[in-house]
Symmetry: C2
Subunit: 411 residues, 2 copies
């Protein structure tokens, strides 16, 4: 069940805060988020596949895989500076960030996950942590999720939060209500590959670290990894999932394959998909959320290639901005996607309006099409007629605002 | 040697014309081009790899590969309507287009190459050919190349023409001056794969059809196939090359591997690269031609992937529009390109200004960078430090004008 106004602190056992630490010039803007678990808990992470991966990604991965063995206590995120392409000095800054937060929270640096988002190629100053971390610790609360979600924003126009509660039909967990909640940011340089920009998700369900990771990857693959704003995979993509187990104190962890675990995965995927859709809808300069459904593909890879190529096509995206049912651009995109099909087997609908059948144009009312473009979510349905595989990818349109935002972002 | 003002009729043995036939509403705008060889001559073609390939592409390919065995007499191109995604009716229209032109010129329909460019999914009317073809035949002349180049334009802001002359140091061809000349169009939906949008090239060098094809593919691979405006491969890409042999009447054809053939290929590649650069510079909404040089790649495929990913990155392209030396976006793009390298081995220069060394930011004068962005051609030099392979890809920046053009192109 979706929790109205829920977020990263909806699950029991977690506190959060968002503060202005000084990474940004504007003192009214939060730029440092802290999420802390009451006790060390299971943690899983999924990270960018970009070769130019940022220092905090390397450090968090080291902590999670090499040192803390899937146990963590806190996540710290700064916005404004990505600490990417900063060499050994950047690595030292990321390690120092973890040390300062660990000291303040009272845990080893290895139990702190760090993430950064912002401009690439600038060095991360440590001064803001000296003032920001104590301030965040002071503000840390069960209600701090919203401030934390605000603090990780870059060109996002609003914070992204979601939470879902669920129960498990098993006497072991009788009377327990579990929650999965999270926050995310992401607006430009968005085509995650393995994880999203930055997302932190928490749950109070009892899940062991070794199975938490697989659940996170499965959820990311049907949510964050299906979002693309501009085809640009970031250097800093980080998705973290913490499981405190606080909702069922003393109970056995959910076993993989059990109905309890299935209920958890369903809730996790619902939260991730909700955040992913929010991310696509708030893509830089977006005026519309665009959902691309591909069916009838020969296999999953073909479905993904076709949907992603349509979702990344500047010609398709600008047509949507222009409220133009120019389906020829969709045809052009699937045709160059590498997916195998015969053009005479293709059907395309725009907002439920059939515009292409058997690979050919069909007459439709331009007036009706224009009306349907008023909807905040534009749905494109493409059937390749080549098999049974299908997928959904989310994106946004491509407006003047995207050019404005990215033509003078850094200057 | 570059011929000032040269084009598709610079080579001896060819005439051309451009007229208003009626595919477009504006009577002042040419929309039909005809290029005719004095005699049937060797012809090669390279065509789109898009599954949704247009009817004229299918018909021209059939003529060239199946019926005329590399001999052709004329090329006919209409602009305004692409005759793509039009099914059997579209195929009939393309065949009829070839028949009408063949009847007028006095050759079998199989010796006519046809091409169309414009909106996808609309049926091609035959009426305009009935008036347009006789009109074009009447205007056909050695000076008609420029009109033809104007007639194939869509959102191009100016016609694209180039011609190069060369001599051969071989007594067999003493006193002969050979010419390669051509025209091209291409502005949006540009990321050719095997051929460009529409380009017709002629030469008066004596080349046999069987070796002409390979020479065209080699030339396309270092020119048109290295251009990308928006990553969208068109449904209609067509590149044709005619060789009349008129410059050396009675002489033996250039043998593959001979100095004469090498001189021809050099001239052909110079014309193709010249047209390709014009195409990139005139990309929809372009304010700058962008040249992406990648060196130090592990192999050719990696070099191409890195250069193409940078060239297609909306974030890189909008940064150039904003005159912003935001090299982090270039790093992000190569990092997700699939090319193998270590980030600490990477160097990046923007307009000759070192901005990244050993994968890290280096101090540079923002003022100097801004000054260099005034240049009409922006050069990005990227060294991956992973090997000896290199490539060059051409693109343009991404401006408000692109959104304006493509947000209301059809309506």
């Amino acid at each position: 069940m979706l929790i109205e106004g829920g977020g990263v602190t909806s699950a029991k056992g977690f506190s959060a805060a968002g503060v202005h630490a000084g990474f940004r010039k504007n003192p009214e803007r939060f730029d440092f988020a802290l999420v802390v678990a009451d006790e060390p808990c299971a943690c899983a992470g999924a990270f960018t596949q970009n070769v130019f991966c940022a220092a905090p990604v390397v450090v968090s991965r080291e902590h999670l895989e090499g040192v803390s063995y899937g146990i963590a206590r806190a996540a710290a995120v700064n916005s404004g500076i990505a600490n990417a392409a900063t060499g050994e000095r950047g690595m030292e800054a990321a390690r120092e960030m973890a040390r300062i937060v660990g000291d303040a929270v009272g845990c080893p640096a290895q139990e702190v996950m760090v993430a950064s988002t912002g401009v690439i190629g600038q060095h991360l100053p440590l001064g803001p942590f000296e003032t920001g971390v104590p301030l965040a610790l002071e503000k840390l609360s069960r209600e701090g999720g919203h401030d934390a979600a605000c603090a990780i924003m870059t060109t996002d126009t609003h914070p992204k939060e979601a939470a879902v509660s669920f129960t498990v039909d098993d006497p072991v967990y009788a009377g327990c209500t579990f929650t999965v909640g999270g926050m995310a940011k992401g607006s430009g340089m968005i085509m995650p590959n393995m994880a999203t920009m930055i997302s932190i998700i928490t749950t109070d369900a009892p899940i062991q670290a070794n199975v938490l990771h697989d659940a996170l990857l499965r959820a990311a693959n049907v949510s964050f990894n299906k979002v693309t704003v501009d085809g640009d995979t970031s250097t800093n993509d980080t998705c973290l999932l913490f499981a405190s187990g606080v909702a069922a104190p003393g109970a056995a962890p959910f076993a993989e394959g059990s109905p309890a675990f299935a209920a958890f995965e369903e809730a996790l995927q619902a939260v991730c998909m909700n955040l992913a859709r929010q991310m696509a809808a708030d893509g830089e300069g977006a005026t519309r959320l665009v959902t691309v459904n591909v069916t009838g593909a020969a296999n999953d890879a073909d479905a993904d290639a076709a949907a992603r190529t349509v979702a990344n096509s500047p010609l398709v995206k600008t047509a949507i901005t222009g409220h133009d049912a120019n389906w020829g651009r969709i045809a052009g995109a699937i045709g160059r996607s590498g997916a195998r099909f015969n053009q005479e087997d293709v059907s395309i609908d725009i907002m439920g309006l059939p515009v292409c059948r058997d690979g050919m144009t069909v007459p439709f009312s331009e007036e009706e099409a224009l009306k349907r473009f008023e909807d905040p979510e534009i749905v494109l349905d493409i059937d390749l007629g080549a098999g049974d595989a299908k997928t959904t990818v989310w994106t946004c349109d491509f407006s003047h605002e995207y050019i404005t935002i990215n033509g003078d972002y850094r200057t």
